[in-house]
């Protein structure tokens, strides 16, 4: 009998139709081999793939808490080391809330220990699982349920935390940024990260259908537009050096309006607000140009 193709994440999950994160996860899985253990933080990914007694995972997978996936991964790695297993890779998967906010201290500890763990952050730019509250990854001007837009509010007044810089400050050997919408880029970065000895961090913009208030078919388009506007460039650092960027000398940015106007979370923004956001894109373009 012919064997069915083995998925590390089977198609049986119950995420929203068109979920940007789940498509990014599939791209990550294509970069892994079977000798992998995953430590997952609490969030959409855990909830939508592990409703007991079922599981969509074809790899050994553990979820403990919201904020401790990095430390759980350290424990797994210590266990593998003790038994002399040098082959098995340890991966962390978490959302932006678990990464930028509540789990940050434990991520710092893991990076400080210099452990050979690949940490993947699926960045939906809000606490999607609990109902789209603002996180440290929420960009300026975004309306969330805890930073709602209103007569006296433009939504989030804070800028997105620079997690890549935090990773680089820890001398993380491999730091990369990608987006759902460029799956091959994601897969290639995962494969590359796994060849590096030492900590690696990949942050993937993962458009959230209800959170961003976008059409079901638009997650990939939004990811691509985030790159094309310069708001979320594809980046790759090795040993602290920027080695690849989607912002090259010939980069011609699309106007940020093209990205913002398709998303309900930004629909309240006025021209002056959009101008402020275009300055963020301009800053990125100068910072990440190679």
């Amino acid at each position: 009998m012919k064997k069915e193709k083995k998925y590390f994440l089977s198609p049986g999950h119950n995420a929203c139709s068109g979920c940007g994160q789940l498509s990014a996860v599939q791209a990550v899985m294509r970069g892994l081999n079977k000798d992998t253990i995953i430590a997952n933080a609490t969030g959409c990914l855990e909830v939508t793939t592990t409703a007991y007694p079922e599981s969509a995972w074809g790899l050994p997978w553990i979820h403990s808490l919201f904020e401790n996936a990095a430390a759980v991964a350290s424990g797994i790695l210590a266990s593998l080391k003790k038994r002399g297993d040098k082959k098995t890779k340890v991966i962390v998967q978490a959302g932006d809330g678990g990464t930028f906010d509540i789990g940050l201290g434990l991520i710092s500890g893991m990076w400080e220990r210099g452990e050979n763990i690949l940490y993947i952050c699926y960045d939906t730019e809000s606490y999607s699982n609990t109902g789209i509250q603002a996180s440290g990854a929420t960009p300026y001007g975004s309306s969330t349920t805890t930073t709602p837009s209103g007569k006296q509010s433009i939504g989030s007044t804070q800028n997105k935390k620079d997690m890549l810089a935090i990773a680089l400050a820890h001398n993380v050997k491999y730091v990369a940024q990608s987006v759902a919408g460029f799956p091959t880029d994601i897969t290639n970065k995962v494969k590359k990260a796994l060849t590096i000895s030492g900590p690696a961090y990949i942050q993937i913009l993962s458009p959230c259908i209800p959170g961003w208030n976008i059409d079901y078919g638009d997650a990939a388009t939004m990811g691509k537009l985030a790159v094309k506007t310069g708001l979320y460039p594809l980046l790759e650092y090795e040993n602290g050096q920027l080695i690849h960027s989607s912002i090259t000398k010939n980069f011609k940015a699309e106007p940020v309006e093209n990205y913002l106007k398709k998303q309900g979370r930004f629909k309240h923004l006025k021209a002056t607000d959009i101008k402020a956001i275009s300055q963020i894109a301009a800053y990125n373009i100068s910072k990440y140009k190679i």
Partner: protein
Amino acid sequence: MNKTNKQKNKQILEGSRAIALTIKNIAPDVISAYPITPQTHIVEDLAKFKAEGEANYEYIRAESEFAAASIVLGAIAAGSRAYSATSSQGLLLMTEVLYNISGMRLPLVITCANRAISAPINIWNDHSDAMALKDSGFMQFFAENHQEAVYQHILAYKVAEKLNIPVMVNIDGFILTHSYEEVTIPSRSEIKKYLPAFKPSVGTYLDPKYPVTLGGFYSPKYYRQTREDLFKDMQKALLEIKKEWKALSTTFNYKNQGTGLVEFTGSKKATTIIIALGSVAGTIKEVIKNNNNVSLLKITSFRPFPAIEINRLTNFAKNIIVIDKAISLGNAGPLGIEVQAALRDKKKNIKNYIAGLGGSDITEKQIAKMINSANKKSDKVIFNI
């Protein structure tokens, strides 16, 4: 073992060192901890053993107790035996993870060097920390002295790994951690005979050969079943602790009057029985040694709680004195509440003393005073002795 060897094994050791040496001989695969007084000497010693090449566990320096608990969680989930130790604020910071560990049925053993909880900040001994975790799904043992602490740690791994329920061994901060006593540390090979290597069954831990999903999302009907299962297994632990303590006492030739759950000292027909946890039992024994009317019922396993033993052993007594080194604010001492519940069908005069908070001494004089006023009318919860 001949007499010469036996004497050679007796050493005068600091309590923390006795525990560290025992843990070394139990040979966990992974240790992770974070410093906090009065627990620090244990994890310092364990780090030193590793540094000197006397131990080959992985020792992971954590950036908080929360991380340390998470690290040992991950290690056990991947099939390793693990250890951590903490106190007071550290235990509270670990709390979310500890509930997770018991819920995931991971057989962790931790030492809690018992210390008061802030505010106000205080580094000395009481049982406020352990009592805050009494509903966490950890078994909780309390040691009177160094030797009992040593054997309780060995017992802890045995029952934890048999039942997949974690254990917290409680030792009074400073009183036991920083004091010196004569103690025998069983060797690695002796321990191995009693406690085999940790081998979780295939398909229960993280292994690429048998991919499993641990810590999935449980809907109401599955969630409630896990709590019921843990409750029932905790009841089974009452029998398992007794059985294993007996086997341990024989294996290590450890002469003691305990059952693993409780230890009774004095006449079974005494009119007054004192019930207490931990090192204060030593002081109580000194006070009652020539008094046939007063006996001591030392609780060595607070979780699971030995209600049947308490009922049986207090059968003849009129007066029960419960000494608590903690207070459940809004009610009474935690041990007092449990004893009241265990004896609810009996007509006993139960007095609950709240003593030793924040390291205040519990003196022989105070205990004598408790005994003398056992018959007299007073409040049920008494702070001033």
